[in-house]
Symmetry: none
Subunit: 226 residues, 2 copies
DNA sequence: AGCAAGCGTTCAGATAGCGTTCACGGGCTT
DNA sequence: AAGCCCGTGAACGCTATCTGAACGCTTGCT
C-alpha cells in the first residue's frame, strides 16, 4: 500500500513518514501544496494524508483539484483542533476522514486501515480469501488457522492482492503500490516475491494470467474453464 | 437512504433522529445493543451511527458481530472524547468513521455524506453485450455467468470490440489498437484471434462484414440484415 | 456456373513472459 | 564486530502464447 503524506512541518512530516514506513506502507512525502498536488496527480496512491495549512497551495485547493481531475483515492485531512470551519470545507472538497492535531499515531494508523479496506470494498479488518486470512492490524497472515511467517515485502504483496482479490493485478501495478517513488522498474523482484509467497501459502492461490498479471483466488471455490 | 441510530441516551437519540430525518434520511432508532444488533442484522441500512457505550451488548461487540455475519454497511461510531483506546478498537472491529461526543450535528451530517458517497462509488466497470460481460478492471470475461479464460491478446481484441459494440470495426483499426507500433500488415493474426474468440464466446457474437470488418452483437436481440 | 478475393482453420516454429535458483550486499540484531 | 536475514538483480530454462503460412471454404461478382 502506497501512501502520500503532504505536511509542511518537517518534524511531523518525518515522524509520519517513519511511522507509516515501519507499518509496511510505501511512503512519499511532499512538503508543500504544489509538490503534493503534483505527486497525487501523477502517482497512484492508495491513500493520502493531507495537512490543510500548507505553503504555496492550500490543502483544500489541492484536494479540490484532485477531485476535479477525477482522482478518487481516499484522503485523510489533518488540521489544528480548533479550526472547525476548515474541517467542513475539507469534507465538502471530498475528504474521507479528518484528524485533529495533535493526535496519536495509533489513531492515524487505525483510520488509515479503515480507509484502505473500505476503499477496497471490505468492511472488516480481517481480509479473508478461503482459509487464507490477513490481519491488517497485526500485519499477520494465516492459512487454515496456521500463522504464516512473512517478510515485510512478502506481506506487502499479499496484502495488496488481498485487497484486490479476484481481479487480475498487473505486475506494474504491484510495483507501483509496493515501492515508493524511486525504484528501478527493470527487475523481476515481483516474480521472486510471488514465488516465495506461493511456497508459503500454497501455489494454487495465486494464479498467473500470462501477459496480464496475477490473480488471487480461493482455490476451494474456483472452477477451471476450458 | 436508510440509517440506523444505536444510542442509549434518550435526549441524544431523539436529537439525532430528528436531525437526520430533517435531512432526508429514513431513520430507525435502537436504544440498546441488543435491539441495535437485531435491527442491523435484519434490515438493509445504508449506514449506521453506533454509540459504543451501550446497555446489554457493547457497541464494539455489536459491530464485530455484524461484520462476522458479512454485513458491510458503513458504520460511524460515537464515543466520549477521552476514550481513546475504544476508538482504535472500534476501527479495527470494522468501523468506517468515528466522532467524539459532544459534536456538532453539522459534522455528523458531513461525515455521513462522505461515507455514503464512498459506499456508492463501488459500481463495477463492466461492459456488457447480451449475456457476455467483460470486467475491464478485473480483466475477466464471462458468458452467462460462466467465466471465460482469455489470453492477453484475445482479451484486448474482445475488450476493444466491446467498447465499440454494434458498429463495424475494420481489421486495420483492431491492429492499430492492439499493437503498439506499426505492425506487419501482411499477416492474418487478427483472423486467428477472432476465430479463437468465437470458439470461446460463441460464434454468433462476432459477425463478419465482408470487406469491411467485424461487428460485435447480441445474438439474442438482432435481426438479419440484407 | 465459374472465378477471384476475402475469410476461416489448422499447425508448427518462434517468442517472450514467467518461474526458479543463486549469489551478492546492506542493514539490523546479537 | 560478526552473523543473519532479507531484498535485489542476473542467469537460465520452460512453456503458453503468438505468429505466419498453407490450404480450403464462402461469398459475391461476372
Amino acid at each position: 500500500m502506497r501512501v502520500l503524506i503532504v505536511e509542511d512541518d518537517p518534524d511531523l512530516g518525518r515522524q509520519l513518514t517513519e511511522a507509516l514506513s515501519q507499518n509496511g506502507y510505501a511512503v512519499d512525502h511532499a512538503a508543500d501544496g504544489e509538490e503534493g498536488h503534483f505527486l497525487g496527480d501523477t502517482e497512484p496512491y492508495d491513500a493520502v494524508v493531507l495537512d490543510l495549512g500548507l505553503p504555496k497551495i492550500d490543502g483544500v485547493r489541492v484536494l479540490e483539484r484532485w477531485r476535479a481531475a477525477g482522482k478518487d483515492m481516499p484522503v485523510l485531512i489533518l488540521t489544528a483542533r480548533d479550526r472547525w470551519s476548515e474541517k467542513v470545507a475539507g469534507f465538502d472538497a471530498g475528504a474521507d476522514d479528518y484528524l485533529a492535531k495533535p493526535f496519536y499515531t495509533e489513531e492515524l494508523l487505525a483510520r488509515l486501515r479503515a480507509l484502505l479496506r473500505r476503499a477496497a470494498g471490505h468492511a472488516s479488518a480481517a481480509l479473508q480469501c478461503g482459509d487464507l486470512r490477513v490481519d491488517t492490524r497485526a500485519a499477520r497472515a494465516s492459512v487454515d488457522g496456521e500463522p504464516i511467517k512473512l517478510t515485510a515485502h512478502e506481506y506487502r504483496v499479499l496484502s495488496y492482492m488481498m485487497h484486490h482479490q479476484g481481479r487480475v493485478v498487473p505486475r506494474t501495478e504491484l510495483v507501483e503500490h509496493i515501492y515508493d517513488q524511486d525504484f528501478d522498474r527493470d527487475s523481476n523482484t515481483i516474480e521472486v516475491f510471488v514465488g516465495r509467497l506461493r511456497k508459503k501459502i500454497g501455489s494454487d492461490r495465486i494464479l498467473t494470467e500470462r501477459g496480464l498479471g496475477y490473480r488471487l483466488i480461493d482455490p476451494a471455490a474456483e472452477d477451471a474453464p476450458s
